[in-house]
């Protein structure tokens, strides 16, 4: 089957609020940026796939409004996942691998500002035994953090240093919402403090995928997707070992992440404690540059933050700053679902 690469990536500045922008207004600039970067016009794209959630907008079929931004008339080949855009990228990758298209536009967006994100995310939980208790996203992450502390795998100081490292890295990221020195703050849900939690904000991202020689013609150094896989764990938190992420481990194995070392990893870890779990599951030691973008602790536009990890990893390959990068996206409480991709430049950068 044909090789597929990420050939362009763009993201918005991530902001606490964007009241003046509708979703399509927020999205259009990044769509235009990736099309301009490749010289493609919207009607040249073989397949379009997006990721977003109606629950953020509080409106049914909200993604159909965003389609205005891609020029969906006359009709295009289009699909949508009610998930992070990383899973939309996976669907597009399958479409290109099977030869049904040569190019794909993948985009994702999320405006968390209209609602209360912690409450909104409770609606993705098991509606029989868990949802009626309204355990918010920080509470569930805090249970995982305490399990790590009890197991001796982290303490509050170690978690704070993860926050500091990510947000220091984000100083070089002009799109980041939180960068530089950020106070640890008070407990939100103990043991997690405000500093351990991602910023709540609005943002969008887009990538262009292309197959084989088309990729080479559109980009001087395409980021080839050498492997990509996603796995899910049981939905009940009480049957899972929260200090482990077997789904991330298996996805990485199937994506070929362990065949050779990676030099860069972009991890979708909105909470500091999740980076501890992921580093262990993915076997990342200090030789790997983790989250040079600042990761989700610097900007976490829900539904786009995972796609941004793939985009950031690809952009480093485009720029010659990485030869082999791992990109990870997550969804659901406590790293329930995990997607891992391995990206490579065609020739080793000297």
């Amino acid at each position: 089957m044909r090789d597929v690469a990420i050939v362009a990536f763009a993201q918005t500045d991530h902001l606490r609020r964007t009241d003046e922008l509708s979703e399509v207004e927020m999205l259009m600039p990044v769509l235009h940026q990736v099309l301009d970067a490749t010289g493609l016009r919207a009607r040249d794209i073989g397949f379009t796939c997006s990721g977003s959630s109606d629950y953020l907008a509080g409106r049914a079929f909200s993604f159909t409004m965003a389609l205005d931004g891609v020029g969906a008339h006359p009709p295009i080949s289009e699909s949508h996942v009610e998930m992070d855009g990383a899973w939309a990228l996976y669907e597009a990758w399958v479409k290109l691998r099977t030869g049904e298209a040569d190019t794909a536009l993948v985009y994702a967006y999320g405006k968390s500002s209209p609602g209360e994100l912690r409450d909104v995310l409770t609606r993705q939980l098991d509606p029989y035994y868990v949802g009626p208790l309204w355990p918010d996203s920080v509470a569930l992450a805090a249970l995982q953090a305490q399990a790590l502390i009890d197991a001796g795998e982290a303490d509050e100081a170690a978690l704070a240093s993860i926050a500091a490292r990510n947000r220091t890295a984000a100083v070089d990221n002009p799109h980041a919402q939180l960068a530089g020195s950020v106070p640890a703050g008070d407990y939100v849900v103990r043991p997690l403090r405000t500093g351990d939690c991602p910023p709540v904000g609005d943002g969008a991202a887009a990538v262009v995928l292309a197959a084989g020689d088309t990729a080479r013609s559109l980009c001087t150094r395409p980021a080839w997707i050498r492997g990509i896989d996603h796995r899910i764990e049981a939905h009940s938190l009480g049957v899972r070992e929260l200090t482990e992420s077997p789904s991330a481990r298996l996805a990485a194995e199937r994506a070929g992440a362990f065949e050779r070392p990676v030099d860069t990893a972009e991890l979708h870890a909105p909470f500091t404690s999740q980076e501890v779990v992921l580093r262990k599951a993915l076997g990342l030691d200090d030789s790997v540059r983790v989250n040079p973008s600042g990761g989700a602790l610097a900007a976490n536009p829900v539904m786009a933050a995972g796609l941004i990890r793939l985009g950031e990893a690809a952009a480093r390959i485009h720029r010659g700053e990485s030869d082999r990068a791992l990109a990870h996206a997550t969804s659901g409480p406590c790293l329930q679902q995990n997607l891992v991709a391995v990206l490579e430049g065609e020739t080793t950068h000297v």
Partner: protein, 314 residues
């Protein structure tokens, strides 16, 4: 007048769900102060019980009763309870492995403060005084001094008057902002004007404007006033009265191409018997006192528009 509008938006729905045999037994059991788990093929007891083994996907039905006491396996202190959470005072979220179970149940623990909570602490269920067959029949857990028993006993899962469904209300509160283009449209309507936006590429005028041309995929910004008169391009006759709607049926709901617009919008047609509305009918908006949009459209009395004049707008 603010440039960008915003308004409260409440999304609320009582989700009504039916229960399978295992969930029905578990939730009915809670109503009767009995906690049931389900035994897997390899002898593990899952509490709360599920219908399919999360490891093997094998269908599960062997119910077993576990204790109402247990051990905290992990916890998190919530200093600021949120709306709809089980306790209004600060509490701990806990995963509790009930005595006799091999997995943990998520719930909350009533404790005076975080220093009173630790992993491994012993807890017991505090039942809600009024129980209906829901996870909230467990009001919370509370500290309990007593050794683990570790036993579970087979249970038929049969109760009088079993619960077969639950209703879970879900309310989310938003502050909705329609963005620049739609705010401009709504602001103009408050002055009884209708504005669209012209695509810089194909020159079409979209109304209501959404800030993008769906054909060209580019931003629109040039504001264009359209109407007030327009042409009925197509219509339907509504015969069934919607709940809370203060309009007599039958009435006509139409697509109306306002003069100068390249897209038809929706509106009700009044001031003419419903069976005399026709394609090509020329109409104008009728505003009510203080209304933020036309109440309906009525005939202008002009001759009908030629089909060729609106055929592209159907």
């Amino acid at each position: 007048m603010p440039d960008v509008l915003s308004a409260p938006l409440v999304v609320e729905f009582p989700f009504t769900r039916s229960l399978g045999p295992v969930q029905s037994a578990f939730l009915t059991g809670l109503r009767e102060r009995t906690v049931l788990g389900v035994r897997t093929g390899d002898g593990k007891v899952l509490v709360p019980p599920v219908e399919y083994d999360p490891v093997t996907a094998e269908e599960l039905h062997e119910l077993t009763e576990v204790a109402t006491t247990g051990t905290v396996t992990t916890w998190a202190w919530n200093p600021a309870p949120r709306r709809d959470q089980p306790l209004a005072t600060p509490f701990a979220w806990v995963l509790v492995e009930l005595d006799g179970a091999d997995t943990a149940l998520l719930h909350v623990l009533d404790a005076p403060g975080p220093e009173a909570v630790h992993t491994g602490m012993r807890v017991r269920i505090r039942w809600a005084p009024q129980r209906t067959g829901a996870i909230t029949d467990i009001a919370c857990f509370e500290p309990y001094e007593g050794e683990a028993t570790g036993e579970s006993t087979p249970h038929s899962g049969e109760f009088a008057d079993p619960v077969t469904g639950i209703v879970t209300p879900a309310r989310l509160d938003y502050t909705y902002s329609p963005g620049r283009a739609q705010s401009a449209y709504l602001n103009a309507l408050s002055e009884q004007r209708t504005v669209g936006e012209r695509c810089p590429s194909c020159r079409k005028v979209y109304v209501p404007p959404r800030g993008a041309c769906p054909t060209c995929g580019v931003a629109t910004a040039e504001q264009v006033e359209v109407g007030p008169r327009g042409t009925v391009t197509t219509y339907c006759i509504v015969n069934i009265k919607a709940k809370n709607l203060d309009i007599e049926v039958p009435y006509v709901y139409a697509h109306i191409a306002l003069d100068g617009a390249d897209l038809a919008l929706h509106g009700r047609i009044g001031g003419i018997p419903y069976d005399q509305v026709r394609m090509g009918l020329r109409v104008e908006p009728v505003w009510t006192e203080g209304g933020r949009h036309p109440d309906h459209y009525r005939p202008t009395g002009e001759p009908d528009a030629d089909y060729d004049a609106y055929k592209e707008l159907l």
